[in-house]
Amino acid sequence: MQPHYPLDATKPIDPSKLKPLWKQVSQDLRKDLGDPTFDLWFADFRLTSAGPEGVILLAPGSMYLIWVEENFKESLGYTFEKYLTGCGPIRCELATEEELAKDAEKASQKARKKKNEVTELRPRVLVEEISEAKLLERGRAAGLVETFRFDNFVSGENSELAWAAAQAVAVQPGKTYQPLFFHSACGLGKTHLLHGIGWESLRLRPKSKIIFVTAERFANDYIDGIQKSSLSPFRKKYRQADLLLIDDVQFLGRKEGLQREFFHTFNSLSDLHKQIVLASDCPASEINELEDRLVSRFQWGLSVEIHRPGLETRAAILRRKRDDWNMTVSDEIIDSIVERVRGNVRVLEGALIRVAMVATMNDEPIAPEAIDEVLADICGGDESQQIGIKEIKQAVAEHYDLEVQILNGKKRTARVAEARQVAMYLVRRLTDLSLVEIASSFGKDHGTVIYAVKRIKAKCEASAALKSTVELIKRRLVQSSSTVGSKRPQKVSQTRDGLKSSGVFEGGEG
């Protein structure tokens, strides 16, 4: 006989009706919770009594009892309500051991509303004073070199834009220029600005996570990760940075796996509006075999070139250095050094050190006239300063047996086109001229120059003949220029190495 639901539970329910009642409730529960859940928890439960005193279920084991009470009390409650009116609270009891059953009863009557603590996220302190010692400690941990800070960067007309961008990024990371990309020949201050941004950000936001690495270090970390077949520490390290500074990104060229990883790191950081600052010795478009998607991303934010410093800036840099190093060298001497030495900042510093050293050895200030002698091998040592666009065009034209005018003209036969491209390539390589300047001297636009440079680079790799041609022209140019200067350019690099090992330079580009 099918009973009529809901049953009146203000009086104890007749035991014969319990089995069909439980069956009905079970069906509903099964529908509600799904088969696996119902089978796991309720399959062996029995309904033993129901009435105003309450509904008692017998559990097949103590763990069932505990878990059902903890997790399914509500479901049981509203399911029973559908079929019973006026019943007491639902209790579970253990089928066998009376002792445990009593405990369970007590427990079921006591409401357990455990407040669950939500782990606190502490609000981030945005501006915080930080002691110099702490700053140094954190900066060093981030890979920053303490001598490269904003307050000892000398900005001039050559680096105005880069300097302004660096300051903007340090103040508002991730907001203004994403990414910020510096490029210049070596020794002009890219690394200095990169470190400077790091220090300044750290000073403004001591809690932020800053990472400075060279692309090579980034690569090594990546390779380490692969070797240990666990990339997650690597990813964790780089993808949680608030400010990622990467030096020498040209090193990424030709490394496909690394580029892919870098691409993802780049994306995840920029998705989170974290600042990325990159430095390279050439524009992104000229990095060897850099994936297009990376090139476009590098060009996406702000790309700034740092030029060679002009006379006044060179003088300002050296005066600054002199004061920093406590040297007794007069302004006149510095002026005559910068007139003679046009190379990068490292060469300038080398010259200053040498002049100061000679002065100390002789125990008397050096006369401006004597400077030529002291700096004999540094002056004019920088090859690129000696070679102009004219000489290059001439040399190329000579080699291809053409008129120089033709290189500037519109003729596009294979031979002329190649000569023109080689000329553009060499101008780009051997001079400091900007793309626009090069383009205008050939009467073309700068895209043509980029294309020419890329094409010759690719061709050189493919064809040994072209490579040797280019090398030959280059050698001739360099040789003819070094006869103009006083000594061979190799000396310069020796001087640099000497300075490096003496510890004057740390962490610069190689």
Binding site: L33, T37, S62, M63, I66, E69, E70
Partner: protein
């Protein structure tokens, strides 16, 4: 009783034993630390009648003897003393004078005879075990201990030894954490005990990352001897429920996810959980996991993370704290979440013998 002692050594030892001392106690002697000086050095003991910790340290003893001192007060005095050498002397009235450089303190204690005698071990099963192993296992399970005092058998970690295994389990009825470690024990030592929460916490504090410890177990007491410390605790009497019943069988779907990423995402989303429902939704779909919280009166939050999962779309709701607790206490980079369906318990696993069963909450539609 008179001795000279190094401040750091003394302070360190006092810190270690003073946690046991309860702040509200009916017996004043229980807030004291027992100091016993003999030829071997100084012995410090504290007890709350359930858990007792003793620690031996080196001291330059000039006169042996014993006394008790208010533990917290003594610890805070020693912490503040100016020099590294402390002179300590107690007279017959249990008044101690403490001198350190220019400082002088007189502290009134109670006679050592009032200090409860710690029960001696009778016939005990003894074995040694790696400290690090036990520390890790306790860390991975102890957060799941129930705080519901009406279920007193669940107010501790169930520790089972037998069949070449050491099994530790803790549960509160809505989640269960278990470590099952292969371990060779001499035959005939099979035993199952429930170590109470307080002892578990103290033991975790004492254990270090290396060395071994000696464990002695009887039916009602457990002793742990390590380094220079000795912890004795009463065990919870009763039968631990058969926890294997709630561990689901074969899972249908497995999700692989980076632990820290998951932890941080849950932490953030849980900020918008309302106290009534206290659940957040996990939506697994095609290598993505969307974690969301929605409280009509507060607002909503969502975070999407990458996971490895190629099963059908599944939406499960969990209590965020229950998800975070194991994540916080594991160090593996990756964790696996095994699922059957939306209302069956989920199981969190790692590449080591550990599992964590967590009951889903009902998804409100």
């Amino acid at each position: 009783m008179k001795f000279k002692i190094d401040k750091d050594v003394f302070q360190d030892a006092l810190n270690q034993v003073q946690h046991v001392v309860s702040t509200r106690t009916t017996l004043p002697i229980l807030s004291n630390v027992l100091l016993e000086a003999d030829e071997l050095g100084l012995k410090l003991s504290t007890t709350d009648l359930d858990v007792t910790i003793t620690r031996r340290i080196a001291a330059d003893i000039t006169k042996t003897g014993a006394t008790t001192m208010p533990a917290r007060r003594l610890a805070s005095i020693v912490r503040e003393l100016p020099t590294s050498e402390i002179d300590f002397e107690v007279n017959e009235d249990n008044a101690a004078t403490v001198r350190s450089g220019p400082s002088f303190f007189k502290i009134l204690g109670l006679p050592s005879s009032e200090f409860p005698v710690i029960g001696e071990f009778g016939e005990a099963k003894e074995f040694t075990i790696d400290q690090k192993l036990l520390k890790e296992a306790l860390r991975k399970t102890s957060y799941a201990i129930s705080t519901d005092e009406t279920r007193y058998v669940l107010n501790g970690v169930n520790c089972l030894i037998g069949e070449g295994m050491l099994t530790l389990v803790a549960t509160d009825g809505r989640r269960l954490a278990m470590v099952e470690q292969d371990l060779e024990f001499p035959a005939g030592n099979e035993i199952g005990v429930i170590i109470p929460t307080k002892a578990v916490n103290e033991l975790q504090r004492l254990l270090s990352g290396s060395g071994e410890l000696k464990v002695s177990l009887t039916d009602s007491q457990a002793g742990f001897e390590l380094n220079e410390s000795h912890l004795i605790t009463k065990l919870i009497e009763g039968n631990y429920p058969n926890f294997r019943q709630v561990i689901p069988g074969e899972a249908k779907y497995r999700v692989t996810v980076e632990r820290e990423v998951l932890h941080n995402a849950v932490k953030r989303v849980s900020l918008l959980v309302n106290e009534k429902t206290n659940s957040i939704k996990f939506c697994f779909d095609d290598h993505r996991l969307a974690i969301s919280a929605n409280s009509p009166e507060i607002g909503e939050a969502e975070e999407v993370i990458d996971v490895r999962y190629d099963g059908p779309k599944l939406v499960v709701a969990f209590n965020p704290e229950f998800v975070m607790a194991p994540l916080r206490n594991l160090d593996q980079d990756e964790v696996y979440i095994d699922l059957i369906d939306e209302s069956s318990p989920g199981v969190l696993k790692i590449d080591e013998p550990f599992l964590y069963v967590i009951m889903p909450m009902r998804v409100a539609n």
